[in-house]
Symmetry: C2
Subunit: 96 residues, 2 copies
Amino acid sequence: MAIPRLTHEERDAALAELTGWALRDDGLAIVRTFKFADFAEAFGFMTRAAIEAEKADHHPEWFNVYNRVEITLTTHDAGGLSVRDVSLARLIDGFV
Amino acid sequence: MAIPRLTHEERDAALAELTGWALRDDGLAIVRTFKFADFAEAFGFMTRAAIEAEKADHHPEWFNVYNRVEITLTTHDAGGLSVRDVSLARLIDGFV
């Protein structure tokens, strides 16, 4: 069963709650950049996020260079944002 | 002390040895894309690479989505490729 895409209202409500996350230009994903003290701290954060992502069977698109981690969340099965992205964003925010 | 940039000859010799890595268009970095069975395997690989990168104090620029990992290696202090990139690439290749 496909995961339903968030309505515009649901999307806006989620973004209002998730401080630090922004809607990607195309409206189909949310993005956030995290900065840490150094690489070890950045990768420690990624490891915690990876474990939660795997448990949720919902994975981020992410880029890392040294202390910076850029995360993009979207739900391919929904063709855009779904509740899965909001849940994962909330979990990830708990790690900073 | 700045790390010396590889000469063109050294760069070509390194690339000939590092199968799977390609020179980035600007000639200042090497790139390789790795594919795994799934996210857990991809992140396991990243974790091994992260530990070696931290030990070498030389870190990758990398992107991951699900089972795919794209790695870019360059040495900012050298303004391009250095022996550090070749060493890290060799170590990373040992994990696949």
